[in-house]
Structure formats: structure tokens, C-alpha cells
């Protein structure tokens, strides 16, 4: 569902998601993600410069609640430091339709 890989030396937080990210799955993972981000914020004085990457390689569906999580997370770091990678075309089109592909820096 959600695996987090924090590379301190690179100031990089990579989040690997898997499966179908519907409303329920999004709500379940949100506290974990929040917790991780809060810890990072507390422990890392350079949090402002952190890069957060959501890897959606193994994701085949995203609910609007997951898109909201992406937006909320993106707001916690300077513009351009949040990105989403490895979307499959169906997920990519979903972000396009939401009009968020540029805001969320989707590759």
C-alpha cells in the first residue's frame, strides 16, 4: 500500500504506493504519511529544502481523496520540491483532467 524510504543524506523522502488508491485506502494511509512528514519536519532543520517524491508505478486507480493528499503534501515543501513519478497512462490522464499535472510536477 505505502512504503516510505527516507534518504537523510539526500534530504529525500520517497513514497512508494501500490494498488488501488480509493477513498478508503487513501484515508487509511494518510495518518502514516502525516506522521512521517511531521517527524521529518521535527528532526530535520533543512526540511524546507526536502524533496518529496510519490512513486505511483504500482498504482492503477486514484480517488479524489488521494489527489487531495498529493496537493496537501506538495504544499509542505517549496514549489518544485514535490513530484510524482512513474504514473501509468490512466493515472496520468486522471491528473491531467484534474488540471493538476503541472502543479504536482508529474513526470
Amino acid at each position: 500500500m505505502l512504503t516510505i524510504n527516507h534518504q537523510n543524506e539526500k534530504n529525500l523522502l520517497e513514497c512508494f504506493f501500490t494498488g488501488r488508491l480509493d477513498t478508503m485506502a487513501s484515508e487509511e494511509m494518510h495518518p502514516t504519511l502525516n506522521h512521517e512528514l511531521t517527524n521529518l519536519q521535527k528532526s530535520n532543520p533543512d526540511f524546507d529544502q526536502s524533496k518529496i517524491v510519490f512513486d505511483l508505478k504500482e498504482v492503477d486507480y486514484i480517488a479524489s481523496s488521494f489527489i487531495r493528499i498529493c496537493m496537501k503534501t506538495a504544499k509542505q515543501v517549496p514549489q518544485g520540491n514535490f513530484s510524482i513519478v512513474n504514473c501509468n497512462p490512466f493515472v496520468k490522464k486522471t491528473f491531467k483532467i484534474a488540471g493538476l499535472d503541472e502543479t504536482l510536477n508529474i513526470h
Binding site: 504514473c87 497512462p89 490512466f90 496520468k92 490522464k93 491531467k96 499535472d101
Partner: protein, 477 residues
């Protein structure tokens, strides 16, 4: 707005209104006689008009413009000649509904410089078929050829008994007059083919509009495709009238695994891959990087002219300049629509990445228009089609000639291609006569027996829920 422009618009509209009043009394036979006469006159003038258009606009070449004129007359005529557009057009005994076609009224038809005479011929035919007077607005760089087209059609129409002033043309090239005409209270519809600004102005005028916007056509070549066939078709399409059709291929997207084979095949078929330095030089003359719009100076020009302007040398006989790009958007100017023999080329690491590039290109100014795929894999064709936001997905088909319909498929032949709401248009269809009538529905009494068998007191009782009322509604069905 000056009084003279308003007066001018009023005079044109007054003539058009009188023509509309007379035209609406015509029956199907009279109407069809006029359309046939105009078709024949337009078709017979196809070569002269093509030469005039090519000479006056300096875009494309006259031979391909002959084909465009033939499509706009012969194919369009054959697609509408048997269509009922007057009076009762359909009767359904079962539903009790009879459909009656009524004309819309005066139509203001804006035409582009890239396809001037063909668009004028096509719009005149579909307007006359539906008994609508048409006012042609010619592009300022195509006034002479459009005026001649209108003259030929109008004379043929009058000879066949059409009302006076059923075809008019505005040749002044005045932006103010065009805008005054578009917002004229007596105008019935704007049929706008042109750039984004024009289409937006049409939709903002307060009058109904069928406006179609620009494209940015991505073409995916799948590993299952017949490569020599695919590339021959792409070249025939992209070079047609020097790439001036808005449905022409803009980018070729392939997987890295077949990049080399495709590159060799393009080269074998006389296309030239630009070096990174040459890409930059072509970018500079082809696209205004600030506004991210194509330069009008390269539209419809040949490879040799473009190469000369860019200051590069290419082999004699080069058909298309290929520009390999690493991305889509502002940093890659050639990723936008360029109506000239220049093709962006992308090699993606895998299938999904390739389709993602197609999505990015599709959304970069070409939403709703057209997309192409070469493949012999049904699953991929369907997946690609689902993922593109395009009114037309052309499969194993040259997109220029494929999108206009009637040549390579059974789409309605048209030079105005709807792009749906993504392109801020009302439809994704190819526009034809059927879009230019008001359909009245005469509804005979056919009571809904289920509804009238219900006890209506039960609808007033809040405690009775949908499942009970639904069961009762469908009882004995």
C-alpha cells in the same frame, strides 16, 4: 465601433434576412437542384481556384489544394445529397414523433488562410443544403481566391433558382466588421474555422457558434506496426499541402526498442533528422517562444524554404525535418502545433512512457482534436484511444486525410472538425449539413401507461420509498 461599420453590417444582414425569408419557402427538390448546381460549378473550378489560392496565400502547393477542393465539393456533396434537410425528415410511428427540419437563418462563415477556397466551397454547400444564407468572411491574405470562389458558387446558385444574396462575402479584412457581424442580433449562427482567438471571439459573441480550434496531433507507432507502411503514410500526410491541415501529424512517439528501425526507415524515405544544434535553429524560426505560437512565416512552406530561413543545409529532396525532443512544453518549442513539414520525434523507454508523452502532447494545445496510432494490436489501439482526448483517433491512417473524412474512412467529409468541450467546441463531430438545421419534434399523444396506472396519492406519502413505487410502476410489464 464606427457608424459606418455598423451600417455595413446592418446592410449585409438585411440582405441575408431577405434571402433567408425567401429560402425557407423552398422545398427539398428546389434546394437539392441548387446544391447540385453549386457543387458542379465548384468542382469544375477546382484547379483554377487551387492555383489562385496557392499563388495568393503563398502557402502549400496548388496540386494538393486541387485535392482539397475536390474533397470539399465531390465528397461533401455525395455525403449530403441524399440527406433530407427540408420539411419532414423522419417519422416514427412507435414513438409518435415526427421530425421537421427548419433552416437556422443567416450563417456567418469564417474561413482560414490555410484552406481558403476548399473551406468556402464546403461551407457554401452545407449552408445551401439547409436553406441558410451564408456570409463568407475571407482571410485578409486570401481575399481574391475566396471572392472568386463565392462568385462561381453564387452565379451557379442563382442560375439554379436560389434567392438573391443567399451567398455574400466580406472582403474588407476588417476585424471590427468581423466582430460586429459575429455579434449581430439577426445572425443565426457563426461557423468559425480558425485560430483559438477567433473561435473564442465567436463563442463570446452572444450568438450560437460552431467553432473549431487548433490541434497538436500525436502519432504513436507501436512495435506491432508495419513500419515502412506507417512511415510512408505519415510522410504522405505531413507533406500534403506542406502540412497546412490542422489534423496533420505533429509528433511521432515510439518506444526506444524500435527507435533505430524507425529512424532508418524515415531516412530511407527521405526525411532528415536534425542535429541538436539544428533543432535549436529551426525552433527559432518556427515558433515564437514567448507566445508559444507557430510563426506565420513558416506555415505551409517547403522544407527547402524552412531550411534556408533557419540557415541549415539538408539533403536535396528532403521531405520532412525530424526534430528529436526530450520533453513537452515551453522548454521544447517544437512540441507545439507547427503547420509545416517539421515533425517532433520522441523515443520513450517503454510503452507506458510513450503513451504518457502522447497525453502531454495531446493536452498541449490540441485537446479534443485528433490523434493517430499505427499498430496491429487491438488492445493497444483501444487503450490509446481511451487515453487520448480527441474527437478522431485515426488508426493506421494518415491523419490529415483521415480526419477530414470520406477518403480513408467513413467520417463525414468536412473541413471543420469539432473538438468537443476540451477544445471549447460544442461537438466532436465533423461538421456537416445535419448540424445546420433546427429540428422540430411533433409529438403525438402516446400516453405513458405505467405512469397513468399509478395511484398518485402514494407519491404524496413520504413513508413510501422508491423500491415500492418502482415495483408498482413496472407492475404487469
Amino acid at each position: 465601433m464606427t457608424d459606418s461599420i455598423i451600417d455595413q453590417a446592418d446592410k449585409i444582414m438585411e440582405k441575408a434576412m431577405l434571402a433567408a425569408a425567401e429560402f425557407q419557402q423552398f422545398n427539398q427538390e428546389q434546394t437539392d437542384r441548387i446544391v447540385e448546381a453549386v457543387y458542379k460549378a465548384g468542382f469544375n473550378a477546382r484547379v483554377g481556384l487551387a492555383k489562385m489560392a496557392s499563388e495568393e496565400t503563398g502557402l502549400g502547393n496548388w496540386k494538393d489544394k486541387v485535392i482539397k477542393n475536390a474533397v470539399a465539393t465531390q465528397l461533401v456533396y455525395n455525403s449530403i445529397k441524399n440527406e433530407k434537410t427540408v420539411g419532414v425528415i423522419a417519422t416514427d410511428q412507435l414513438s409518435g414523433i415526427t421530425e421537421i427540419a427548419q433552416p437556422l437563418g443567416p450563417i456567418f462563415a469564417v474561413t482560414p488562410v490555410t484552406n481558403p477556397t476548399s473551406t468556402v466551397l464546403y461551407k457554401i454547400l452545407i449552408c445551401l443544403k439547409t436553406r441558410n444564407p451564408v456570409i463568407i468572411s475571407a482571410h485578409r491574405s486570401a481575399v481574391k481566391c475566396c471572392t472568386e470562389t463565392v462568385r462561381i458558387c453564387y452565379e451557379a446558385a442563382l442560375d439554379a433558382g436560389a434567392p438573391e444574396d443567399c451567398i455574400q462575402i466580406i472582403t474588407a479584412g476588417s476585424r471590427d466588421l468581423t466582430h460586429t457581424m459575429m455579434s449581430h442580433p439577426k445572425l443565426a449562427l457563426i461557423l468559425a474555422t480558425g485560430g483559438t482567438g477567433l473561435v473564442k471571439a465567436a463563442y463570446s459573441s452572444g450568438n450560437p457558434a460552431i467553432g473549431v480550434g487548433p490541434g497538436n496531433v500525436p502519432v504513436f507507432i507501436d512495435e506491432s506496426a508495419d513500419l515502412p507502411f506507417a512511415i510512408a503514410n505519415i510522410i504522405a500526410s505531413k507533406t500534403f499541402d506542406s502540412g497546412t491541415i490542422c489534423a496533420s501529424e505533429q509528433s511521432i512517439i515510439v518506444e526506444e526498442s524500435i527507435e533505430e528501425a524507425i529512424r532508418l526507415e524515415f531516412e530511407r524515405q527521405h526525411c532528415y533528422f536534425l542535429s541538436p544544434t539544428e533543432v535549436k535553429l529551426v525552433e527559432k524560426i518556427a515558433v515564437n517562444a514567448e507566445t508559444m505560437s507557430m510563426s506565420p512565416f513558416i506555415v505551409g512552406q517547403s522544407v527547402s524554404v524552412i531550411a534556408e530561413k533557419a540557415g541549415i543545409k539538408v539533403p536535396d529532396g528532403t521531405k520532412i525535418l525530424m526534430a528529436k525532443l526530450d520533453g513537452v512544453g515551453r522548454d521544447y518549442p517544437l512540441s507545439i502545433e507547427v503547420l509545416a513539414p517539421i515533425l517532433a520525434f520522441y523515443a520513450a523507454r517503454d510503452y507506458h512512457s510513450a503513451i504518457n508523452i502522447c497525453i502531454d502532447l495531446n493536452y498541449l494545445g490540441g485537446i479534443g482534436h485528433s490523434a493517430g496510432i499505427y499498430a496491429n494490436n487491438e488492445e493497444r489501439i483501444l487503450e490509446f484511444s481511451t487515453l487520448m482526448n480527441a474527437g478522431r483517433i485515426l488508426v493506421n491512417t494518415p491523419t490529415s486525410q483521415g480526419a477530414v473524412g470520406g477518403l480513408f474512412n467513413n467520417l463525414l467529409p468536412a473541413l471543420t472538425l469539432g473538438c468537443g468541450t476540451g477544445g471549447k467546441n460544442i461537438t466532436t463531430e465533423n461538421i456537416s449539413a445535419r448540424h445546420l438545421i433546427n429540428v422540430q419534434r411533433v409529438c403525438r399523444r402516446k400516453p405513458n401507461q405505467n405512469w397513468f396506472a399509478m395511484d398518485f396519492q402514494k407519491y404524496l406519502d413520504e413513508s413510501i420509498d422508491e423500491s415500492i413505487l418502482s415495483k408498482e410502476y413496472f407492475k404487469n410489464n
